[in-house]
Symmetry: C3
């Protein structure tokens, strides 16, 4: 398993990790299989969506902030960040085919930090089909 | 990896894909393993829930529309569809056991198109445990 | 595939299953791989987040109840529970590394029942990398 490490610098931040994942797949020499990308934090998540410009990420942060700001919460440390992470989820599995990550044309993979700035890790496990 | 292709005909549409996935598992002759079902689009998602009648799907579309209609968004092309896809997620892993997809009694697998009508693909990767 | 069985006793309840999953991994003797934890019910889900005390779980139940209470729904049997399950999701994949489930320091795995009390199952499939 590979452990990626990042230092986020803002309160909420999306870190694009598509190219790192594609490099891991290329180096693995696996032709067919899956890649599991997993975030081991309770206030961060993994999202897969458009990364052409920043509008998706900005919309997502605005949306989740509005959603989680409407009721009283009890968690002592950034309760909204925990709910945002739970809604988006911390684990995604992506097929590998023909030696490449089988992402769509417009898809990027993001580590989303909802409680930065912090040291963050991402766990990456690749499974070979053959 | 199998690539399924669909043409949706409505603005929002749920396409039931359970039987196609069950057929792929049967043809694979895999007894124990997992199936990864992955949607490579930024305005569509994969959901697993009740498919006995249309009420769940109608409720889900109403719910997500109401959720995403409350704040101004910036994405130039159907920003609500991107958020709906991010909340539901585009990747699900389902166990295979005794040669069958280990779904629950009431579960169906859906491709959810939030920005139709469009040509849509679903990537399916099966992994053998043995 | 292992099938875990639980009887929930409340209308909404979080059942911590981290220790059971860790035991399954230890007994499997698998060093590197993944564990897929899958809930085969349409009104229950799998979440991974903080389990140190009950505040995250209480916040999540309050949040999802508020979210799903704002519009009329049509499903004849607990429509809110189906939406809550769809938002959180019923399938998570967790890497296994060095013979252990590669969870973060603060992470716990929960079966979330949104429509209890009921008999509930969780499907667990482990895949070996080697």
């Amino acid at each position: 398993m590979e452990i990626l490490k990042f230092r986020t610098t803002e309160g909420e931040q999306a870190v694009g990790i598509t190219k790192i994942l594609e490099k891991i797949v290329a180096q693995s020499k696996i032709s067919e299989g899956i890649l599991v990308v997993y975030c081991p934090h309770t206030t961060a998540a993994i999202a897969i969506n458009e990364g052409t410009d920043e509008t998706f990420v900005l919309d997502l942060f605005s949306f989740l902030e509005a959603q989680t700001s409407k009721i009283p919460l009890t968690h002592p440390s950034n309760p909204k960040a925990h709910l945002k992470a739970a809604v988006i989820g911390n684990s995604k599995s992506i097929p590998i085919s023909d030696g490449k990550l089988a992402l769509g044309t417009w898809e990027s993979v993001f580590l989303l930090d909802f409680d930065g700035p912090k040291e963050r890790k991402v766990h990456v496990q690749i499974m070979d089909k053959s």
